[in-house]
């Protein structure tokens, strides 16, 4: 079965292409530089089976949140996420009317990727971002990586693979339209030789407009001190309302934190939102919860979360911290359904599937927040147990002596 392999490299300027690219009969080499991004995409044909469900697996390392994304990238949620519209809901997945989802900080790709995927991929969760779509007839694996100064990437056609490489620069881009130009090269499948390279220009609309640190900043922080009810503060004082648009916050909260839907009124809330149970009683049921809040422009927004009681430590003096990555998004109806897909990514399962195809998502921040959660120590268990027991025993003996013992003296205070 043929695998279609496409490599896209994006440089900042047209002159970078010539100076950073070299080729021979069979291989093409690109060299890295500041802001250079490389995307690899593999398309694998599948034999249609009985399973007609769709699945999407995404991974974005948390360190990637500090980077400015390029126009060929989809701003994915940090961490490991699995979305599926299958009717079977696996253990610890949470459900909503559109998909079931799982979210974790651990890159656990082997467990969720179909067994037929064998593309000799070297997974690198520390540095690379992945966006994988499993459809009934094909599997698409997209990998993003930075190509840093001094790094080289050489590609040549492998067996049973149809290879295409595009090397581009950003010609022009604004809020919605992107124009990139460059060259595109193809390989001959029979002899593995580089066949032709031709000038190419692509014009497309962005579904996701990446967070741009050089523009307006959106401070997102936790009110200090952080107690058991951490308050997420989102400063939108410098933003204005716009028709057909909404300011939103998307949260994928680990089990240790939760939203009280009666207090905070989220637009959407799925997953584990029990208001009382500790984390250790729920961990087999769900990974956590997913929610979307509507925010107000021109003001400071405040969303109160709550932390669950967590398992006592076992002698560890280390503070337990749980992290999450609130995504502040400016979602707008554009009236143009073409933004749902472009040559580099398309709309898939995840929070974006709650919106119409013509919705664009401008990302206004990329922040990781960390909540310390106090916990007791099991090393104190016996001290607490015996102290409780002694308190109770002494108290019961004392009360019994008071009830059944005789009073030493009569009332000394005169009654009226």
């Amino acid at each position: 079965m043929v695998t279609r392999h496409r490599v896209t490299v994006l440089y900042n300027a047209p002159e970078d292409i010539g100076s950073h690219m070299s080729q021979n009969d069979t291989h093409l080499t690109v060299r890295g530089g500041p802001g250079v991004v490389l995307q690899q995409r593999w398309l694998l044909e599948r034999t249609r089976g009985v399973d007609e469900s769709f699945k999407r697996i995404t991974w974005r390392p948390r360190v990637d949140l500090t980077r400015d994304l390029s126009v060929i990238e989809n701003e994915l949620s940090a961490g490991f996420s699995v979305y599926s519209n299958s009717t079977d809901v696996p253990e610890r997945f949470i459900s909503n009317p559109i998909y079931n989802s799982f979210h974790s900080e651990k890159f656990d790709i082997e467990q969720y990727l179909p067994p037929e995927v064998d593309v000799n991929l070297v997974w690198n969760p520390e540095d690379f971002t992945y966006d994988i779509t499993v459809e009934p007839s094909q599997i698409q694996i997209v990998e993003y990586r930075q190509l840093k100064q001094g790094e080289e990437f050489t590609v040549g056609e492998a067996k049973d693979e149809k290879l295409e490489v595009g090397v581009f620069f950003v010609d022009a881009s604004d809020e919605s339209d992107v124009d990139i130009g460059g060259i595109r090269c193809n390989w001959d499948m029979d002899d593995g030789k580089l066949e032709t390279c031709q000038k190419t220009s692509l014009l497309y609309k962005q579904g996701h407009i990446a967070y741009d640190r050089s523009l307006q900043r959106t401070p997102v922080y936790l009110e200090q001190p952080i107690g058991l009810h951490p308050k997420v503060m989102i400063d939108l004082t410098n933003f204005k309302e716009r028709s057909q648009c909404m300011y939103l916050m998307h949260l994928q909260l680990p089990l240790e934190l939760f939203v009280d839907k009666f207090q905070s009124s989220p637009l959407l809330l799925f997953g584990e939102h029990d208001l009382e149970l500790p984390e250790y009683s729920l961990r087999d049921k769900a990974w956590g919860s997913e929610s979307i809040f509507e925010l107000k422009a021109g003001t400071m927004n405040e969303i109160t979360l709550h932390s669950r009681y967590i398992e006592p430590s076992n002698g560890s003096k280390e503070e337990f911290k749980v992290a999450f990555d609130p995504e502040i998004i400016f979602a707008c109806d554009t009236g143009d359904n073409r933004i749902a897909r472009n040559p580099f990514y398309k709309k898939g399962l995840g929070y974006e599937s709650f919106f119409t195809d013509d919705t664009s998502f401008r990302h206004l921040n990329s922040t990781t927040l960390s909540v310390p959660i106090p916990r007791t120590d099991t090393n104190d268990y016996f001290k607490i147990k015996y102290a409780t027991f002694i308190c109770l025993l002494v108290s019961i003996i004392y009360i019994f002596s008071k009830v059944f013992g005789s009073n030493r003296k009569k009332a000394s205070v005169k009654r009226e």
Binding site: P225, L228, Q263, Y309, P374, T376, T388, K402, A411, E416
Partner: protein
Amino acid sequence: MVSEDWALIVASFFVRVGFFLFGIYQDANFKVRYTDIDYFVFHDAAKYVYEGKSPYARDTYRYTPLLSWLLVPNHYFGWFHLGKIIFVVFDLITGLIIMKLLNQAISKKRALILESIWLLNPMVITISTRGNAESVLCCLIMLTLYYLQKGSYTIAGLLYGLSIHLKIYPIIYCIPMAIFIYYRTSKQGSRAQLTSLLNIGLSTLVTLLGCGWAMYKMYGYEFLDQAYLYHLYRTDHRHNFSIWNMLLYLDSANKGSGGSNLSKYAFVPQLLLALITGCLEWRNPIFDNLLSVLFVQTFAFVAYNKVCTSQYFVWYLIFLPFYLSRSHISWRKSLLMATLWVVTQALWLSQGYYLEFEGKNVFYPGLFVASALFFLTNVWLLGQFITDIKTPVSSTSASKKNN
């Protein structure tokens, strides 16, 4: 009622109005809300009822549906705070019954001071004006005792059954109440004793089982589970005043791996002490003593409960004026007792604040030691109360009182 009584009631009413209005202002202008978190639960549950749904659609609604029915006017009139006024009315009625029941032999000045313990108590006022429903239960218990004193056992039983339907704990009062009735009717013969006890017992069952059956028909097993069974299997791992709290937290996390069974038997000392303190009515089976015994019994029940928050203190606070009206404890000792209770509670609250609002890890020793100190203080107070109500009244003072 004399003019001073009316003045106290009017003052109580206006103080409550002040607290109520300040609560609305605080909710609108301060970060920390005045309205009790439970009031939001009642209000939301009432909304479901108003829409023809079950109040149990509201997470954490763990009460009889009757409470949510009480707040349906909130949604009919579209005013969030209306239910608080209902709770304040119950709170004031409770104060009126306290006035009626308070020993007539004490001086008017003393009676006014004791009545003020309920009517002008900031803690009581705050609880009802914040929207906590304890005042409804307090009112029903007081009405039960009012009719019990009047000898209207059927009405007392009906109200008592409703009280137990609202919250299970007043069931502990059945022992001292039965002892009181048994002795009160002893002069009329054993047949009258049995008839009176059957009368109040059956009428209690009528409302208790009747309401239970009606709620079960309407809301099914969810009603039984959420209103009653939940209180038996709940974990209670979150911090509260109870001495059991830390052990419950650790045991709930250590299931099957070295945890103890001690916390599973939390109800044993509690019920044992509620039983023996209830039997103190036997020593002096008169109505005034019954009210003091109920105070001591409730105090013991709350002190040993596996969960204890400030609202539970109201459970015994309704009996405090009656207890104090008969107390022989000197004012110096009273002051010491009150100081210890306040100081140990404040110590716990400071630890609770560090944990809850500053996220500091004060579970051990801070919070645990504070819980233990508060518990031991409560136990010592309980011992003093028991000694006090066992203290024989001298013939001089008794005759003065009867005069």
